[in-house]
Structures are given as structure tokens and as C-alpha cells.
Symmetry: C2
Subunit: 268 residues, 2 copies
């Protein structure tokens, strides 16, 4: 099977023009089929602030009301997505910006929760792998914004890490998929404040140990923001994805060769 890289770029990088630019240069230089999934960054929150739209949060999750969804669609699927695509084109990487509605790329449904109404938050039902394959076969790199749609034409706000994981899983029936999560840190860190404390290889047992340390006083070593990303990573490995790596966006080339970042592995 042909190798396919599914690469997620996080919000903090998107907010930093210089970092984004060096990342995109590295990304454009990758030979072979690849898919980019991008997060949101602070621009949507800033925009909501300027427009006096109050951001509701429940348990650290933003509640996507109609006005927030509008801003997310504008900023993520419009401003950020199209600027990344234009920049990649200038770097001779033929790309195509997509949200879940485009080509029915990602079908989702409004989140169902017994107690909390998350508003227009989408949970993924399916990824249209044959459509993404068509893009790749025509030498186009899909650039995917974290906005999906349900079958009734309702756009939905969807977590970009989850999108990257679901795309990696769906594509693993057609390609040998490597999933790479890039962000502002050098990898999964033992000590959040020490960028040199990168865990080189993280297997399921070690992850469980770090998540549930024997002594409570030690606290949870893995910083909270990493947990959904790592859960996505292990779920991807369990569903046919060949390899998952986590590391710094500006070190993408080293993440691909495996010389930097954290390798997530199902095997000890």
C-alpha cells in the first residue's frame, strides 16, 4: 500500500505567522500523498469578542451557539483555510480547502448528551475516504477545516484532533497511514514546563501509568490538554493506522523521519 501522511496542525501555530509559514514550507516539501487538518486558533475567540458574542463554556468546552458557529465557519473554513491553501499553492503544493460538507467529506451529527446541550457541536459519523482518495489521485492535497455538516445541511463545529484521527482511520483501508499531531511543544513531555523532557516512545501501559500515577501527590503528569489527543492517537492505532507521532510543528521534517517528537505505540 502507498504511504499517506495525515498531519494535524494546532491552533497556537496558526496564530503565529512565522511559525505557520515555516511549517507550511516543510509541509509543501513532503513528497507523496498527504492531508492537512488544521485547528482554529484564537482568531475566532477574538472575533467573537469584538462582535460582543459571549462565549459559553461548560467543563472547558465551548458551547457552539448559532452566532459562534457563524464565526467558526467564517474564521476556520474561510479565513484560515483559504489562507493556508493560497500559501501552499505559492509553494507549489497543489491543495484544496475543504470542510466536512465539501464533497460530503465528513458526515457528522449534532452531539447528543444526556445533560448538556453543546449546541452546534458535531460528532463524526463517517469519513468519505473515496472522495479524499480522488483528491489525492488527482495530486491535490486536502486541507481540512474543523467544520463538518449533518445530512440535513447543518454545519457543525468539530474538534480538529478528532477529525485528524477519524480521517487517518478511514484512510487506513486504502493507504498505509501515518498520523502526525503537530503543536507548539517538542512532543509529549514528562514535565510540561521542560521542553527537553520529551517522551520518545509512549505505549499504552506507560500512558496509563502517567494518566493515573500511583501517588496522588504526584498529580497527573501528562498535561490535561494532551489527553484527548493521546486518546485519539491510541484509538487510531487500534483501527489500522500504522504509526502516530506527536511533536513540534517547525520540526515536521524530523517528525517524519522519526528523529524527533514522541512515537505513540501500541506495543511496549
Amino acid at each position: 500500500m502507498v504511504e499517506l501522511l495525515v498531519i494535524k496542525i494546532g491552533g497556537n501555530i496558526i496564530d503565529d505567522e512565522a511559525k505557520l509559514s515555516s511549517f507550511l514550507k516543510l509541509f509543501a516539501a513532503i513528497d507523496g500523498p498527504k492531508i492537512l487538518v488544521h485547528g482554529g486558533g484564537k482568531l475566532a475567540t477574538q472575533m467573537a469578542g469584538k462582535l460582543n458574542i459571549h462565549q459559553k463554556m461548560v467543563d472547558g468546552r465551548r458551547i457552539t451557539d448559532a452566532e459562534t458557529l457563524k464565526i467558526i465557519t467564517m474564521v476556520y473554513a474561510g479565513y484560515i483555510n483559504k489562507n493556508i491553501v493560497a500559501k501552499l499553492q505559492s509553494l507549489h503544493c497543489n491543495s484544496i480547502g475543504l470542510c466536512g460538507a465539501d464533497g460530503n467529506a465528513i458526515l457528522a451529527h449534532k452531539r447528543i448528551h444526556p445533560d448538556i446541550d453543546y449546541g452546534f457541536a458535531g460528532d463524526i459519523d463517517s469519513v468519505n475516504s473515496s472522495f479524499l482518495k480522488t483528491c489525492l489521485s488527482n495530486e491535490m492535497t486536502p486541507v481540512i477545516a474543523p467544520v463538518t455538516a449533518d445530512k440535513n445541511g447543518q454545519l457543525l463545529n468539530t474538534n480538529a484532533d478528532t477529525i485528524a484521527g477519524e480521517i487517518a482511520k478511514a484512510m487506513s483501508f486504502l493507504y498505509e497511514v501515518e498520523l502526525i499531531f503537530t503543536f507548539e511543544k517538542s512532543g509529549v513531555l514528562l514535565d510540561v514546563n521542560d521542553d527537553s523532557s520529551v517522551i520518545k516512545r509512549l505505549d499504552k501501559n506507560y500512558y496509563e501509568q502517567l494518566k493515573h500515577p500511583p501517588s496522588v501527590s504526584e498529580g497527573t503528569k501528562i498535561f490535561a490538554g494532551m489527553i484527548p489527543k493521546l486518546d485519539n492517537a491510541f484509538a487510531a492505532l487500534n483501527s489500522g493506522v500504522k504509526q502516530v507521532r506527536i511533536g513540534k510543528a517547525e520540526e515536521l521534517d524530523h517528525l517524519i523521519t522519526g528523529t524527533k517528537g514522541t512515537l505513540i505505540s501500541n506495543e511496549p
Copy 2:
């Protein structure tokens, strides 16, 4: 050659949810290959107002400064484009939302003018007809936002009528193209205030007569907003487009069959 419909939908329809919805139902029901080009509507102006971004106008044209371009990209290529695509998907019309940067669909350059700096306004260099054909051959309907890009990755604000005209011309080497401009009026009107005064057939001579009436007191009969659209229409006919029709968005089905609207023709 296979027939292809290139259909432009104007801004005023986009602002009206009910009219947009009936238009999209008619559009989705069309058999065979089709491309939709959409304008902007008032949302970008409203958004600029709320964000206190002053809109500069020269000779009735908006000057696209960096902040205005940001809003246009968000609203046109994000909010409007993705909502149209999601709605079309729910109507079982497999569509894909594009700006000029996506798949290098439309290459443009920043407008060059001896006296006026139009800012980030784009004039079209070329349309990537083979990319659009790839979409159509894969049974995807391109939905195109009025945002293009130059070869250096700079997004540019571009007139939607011009985009529709240029796409129609470029595709006429591959398809038998019919170009349809839809808007809020029933066609090209002899009397702007009388929606029943539709000119059924407008040829070049008649157009020149209406543009330059013999008696000055009569004024220009064709309302000013129509002139760029009609100039685009005649230019398209001169470059291989088979037929151009102008009429009301909610009468799209009748425009296609030729029972309503104005037929623009090079022959008397």
C-alpha cells in the same frame, strides 16, 4: 460536446434565506454538469460595520484594504460558500466549495490602475478548466466564491459576474456552455421599476441603442448595475459561450428551458 450550465447567483438573493432556499432546490434538481458562482451580499458590509472597519469607496467600487479582504474571505469563502454547499448536499447535489486558490481554480493578479489603488482587488489571469472538469467528471458541482489568489499566495477580492463569465469562457473549450446570471429581477428590464418590462432578446445593436439613447433626455434605459453584467455576457458570447440568459433566481427552471428571462444574443 456535453452541455454545461454556469450559473451565477447574485448577492441580494443570498441575503434572503427563503429565496436562496428555493433557488438552491431548483439548482440541485438540474440534471447534468453545472457550476454555481455566488456573489457576496450585505453580510460582509454588516460585519465590517460591526467591527468598525470603514469601507472606502471610489467610483462606486469598494476599495479592498487588508481588513476588508479578511472579512470578504471569511464571509464569502467561509460562511456563505459552506452554507450553500451544506444545503446542496442535503438536497442530494454533491457539491464542493471553492475559492480561486483551491486546486488553483482561478489565478488572478492585484488590479493595476494608473491612478487608483484598489487594494486587494483581483483581475483574472486564467481559469483552471481541467481542474473544474475533474470535479465535474467526479460528479461534484463546484460552488465558487468571489475570492481568487495570485501566484504568491495573496488572496484577492474578485467580482462574481466576472468570475462567472471567465469560467464560462474557459469551459467552452470542453463543453457547450450556457451562462445564466440570476438575480432579483425577472430579466433585463426596459423600465427598472416595472418587472413586467422584460426584454426577451437583447442583441448587440439593441444593447448599444439602450446604452446610448439618441435623445439625452431619455437617459440610459439599462440601469447602471446591469452594464458590467451585460458587458460580461457579450464578451462570453464572443469567446465561445453558446448562450447567455439573465433572469430571476426563483425562476431558474424557466430560465433553463428558455421560457422566462432575457436571452442575450450576438445575432440580431
